[in-house]
Amino acid sequence: MSTTAVPSRSLAALPDAALAEKRRPWYSQAPIHVVIILISVIWLMPTIALLFTSLRNIQNINTSMWWTLLWKPHELTLENYNAVVHSTGTVGMGQAFLNSLLITIPATLFPILFGAGAAYAFAWMRFPLRNSIFLLLVGLQVVPLQMLLIPLLQMYTTLGINGTYPALWIAHTAFGLPLAIYILRNFMSGIPYELLESARIDGNGHLGIFFRIILPLTTPAIAAVAIFQFMWVWNDLLIALVFSGPSTAPMTVVVRSLVGQFGNGWHLMTAAAFISMALPLVIFFSLQRYFVTGLTAGSVKG
């Protein structure tokens, strides 16, 4: 998408904003500050409420508000996390965390592996129907997941792989490929032709050009695709609901089943939900720039 090169540009524009701010007296800015702070509070509070609730025992949760923890820090307990990691009736969040990793890592690598090659062909090779096929891929990006579920489930049942990790990898890989190819191809076609030409003169065939020139130069786009695909798979509920089994259920499925089992078991639900959010939040805060670029690039998917 044309919207990918976002964050660096916003930093470059900062001096302008600072200048503009200087021209006006601070109090004329006051309403703006109030609105922004209010918005920030509204956007932060729900997550903090979840975290605080998950750190209190069920008696405290049901008798006083979560913010009580601020002046009664001795109420803080990790017992909910302890309970939820080990067992919750179905799969413990510990196993579910592992399942999420075992599902997400291959389901992130495969689309990049297959997608990068295809993207190179679409960008730099000539073959019959190239443009028509690519246009088809553009259209496929918005096909609803619901269109695949029933026949895929039948195929998996026939093959006897329903409920296994490969079933989830295949679904996520195939469904993620059109967008991955699209983004990688658009990036690769921007690589200067002279680079490819000189590599060819040095005696490289397509494989040589692909591995030595294209792949290293495509790293930013690959990082973006990796992040959105990782986030998409990690946070997916629908594919996991249909194709995962009791022993392969990722965290989204376990959290959802906790909601179903204990509608008011806030201590368990909140702890489980927070565990499921932890890794994406760490990625967000450590790789913020790539993260924003990746999610922006991948936003058409669904």
């Binding site: 997608g115 246009l135 489930l153 494989l207 609901l241």
Partner: protein, 325 residues
């Protein structure tokens, strides 16, 4: 990457000049099957996966939508061709009708709200020094799964005023406040869900629109001001038109996302109470995987596809007009 060095020698690639022929194809050259081999190697695996696991299932779902087949998954009950019956039945199915109306409600309310708030916040954030911090705060929910968002907002909306933040805060300000059952009231539940969705997705719009705002050359606004335009006029006649292409992107993306909405509704209400918050996504899931109505579930999926097609067409046209190299 260790593959690299072994490819230096020309024999690895049947002939270097042949390989290059695909990079710079000379027009008018005779079509040779051998030159299909390397494109096929690169593009084949991906297209095979997409063909078998995306296109074939999609076509089969369309096929199923004209048949009635119960509990078809795993058992091969005979298919009965019923023509457009599934689609006709949807017309009289109040659950589906509610789902479609709710989906429209989501579109009509949340799309403009997302765009307007997105532009507003992008402009406001642009005027303060701590812009980066404010933007990341609004963006944080993008890192959170819709399932976890569902738990977060179930907690926010909880009926018990000792648990639910919203009821607790309202209770602080309104005397004799009676707790509101946000998710238990059939009139409120959809708006409550939309609130959660807005919280989850607004950050994306803000980030993208903010980038578009930064891309507007400062001298254009300066020129408008010199010509005597007020801030509001400059915003309306310079900023908005220049941001418009990005705004349309946000509109299409938001609409696609809202049409397909499933996770957050399924986690927070499962379509309840009494089916009041059903959307097309939850209906499809319930019919296909809870009730085992494969044909009917497929037909609902097809309706969803039909709803997305105009947006898909816009997507393709935008791509084509950007120009293929």
């Amino acid at each position: 990457m260790s593959l690299g060095p072994s490819l230096v020698s020309p024999p690895a690639q049947s002939s270097a000049s042949d390989g290059s022929g695909a990079v710079v194809t000379l027009p008018g050259r005779r079509f040779r099957p051998a030159r299909l081999l390397s494109p096929l190697l690169f593009v084949g695996p991906a297209l095979l996966l997409i063909g078998v696991f995306v296109i074939y299932p999609s076509v089969k779902t369309i096929y199923y939508s004209f048949y009635t087949q119960s509990n078809a998954i795993g058992y091969n009950l005979p298919l009965v061709f019923t023509g457009f019956d599934n689609f006709a039945n949807m017309w009289n199915d109040s659950a589906v009708r509610t789902a479609v109306i709710n989906n429209l409600l989501w579109l009509i309310i949340l799309t403009p709200l997302t765009v307007v708030l997105g532009v507003l916040l992008a402009v406001l954030f642009d005027r303060v020094r701590y812009e980066a911090v404010a933007k990341s705060i609004v963006f944080i929910p993008m890192a959170i799964s819709a399932t976890a968002t569902g738990v977060i907002w179930r907690l926010m909306y909880a009926d018990d005023p000792h648990v639910g933040t919203i009821n607790a805060i309202l209770g602080q300000f309104i005397p004799n406040f009676q707790s509101i059952s946000w998710l238990g009231n059939t009139n409120l539940v959809n708006f409550a869900l939309m609130g959660a969705q807005l919280w989850a997705s607004l950050g994306f719009a803000v980030i993208v629109l903010s980038a578009a705002l930064k891309a507007i050359p400062g001298d254009l606004l300066e020129a408008a001001r010199i010509d005597g335009a007020t801030e509001l006029q400059a915003f309306r006649h310079v900023t908005i038109p220049l941001m418009w292409p990005t705004i349309t992107v946000i509109i299409t993306l938001t609409m696609i996302g809202l049409l397909k909405i499933f996770d957050i509704v399924w986690t927070m209400t499962s379509g309840g109470p009494a089916g009041a918050s059903e959307v097309i996504g939850t209906r499809m899931y319930t019919e296909a995987f809870k009730n085992g109505n494969t044909g009917y579930g497929s037909a609902i999926a097809v309706v969803l596809l039909i709803a997305v097609i105009p947006i898909m067409a816009i997507n393709i046209r935008r791509f084509s007009s950007e120009g293929q190299r």
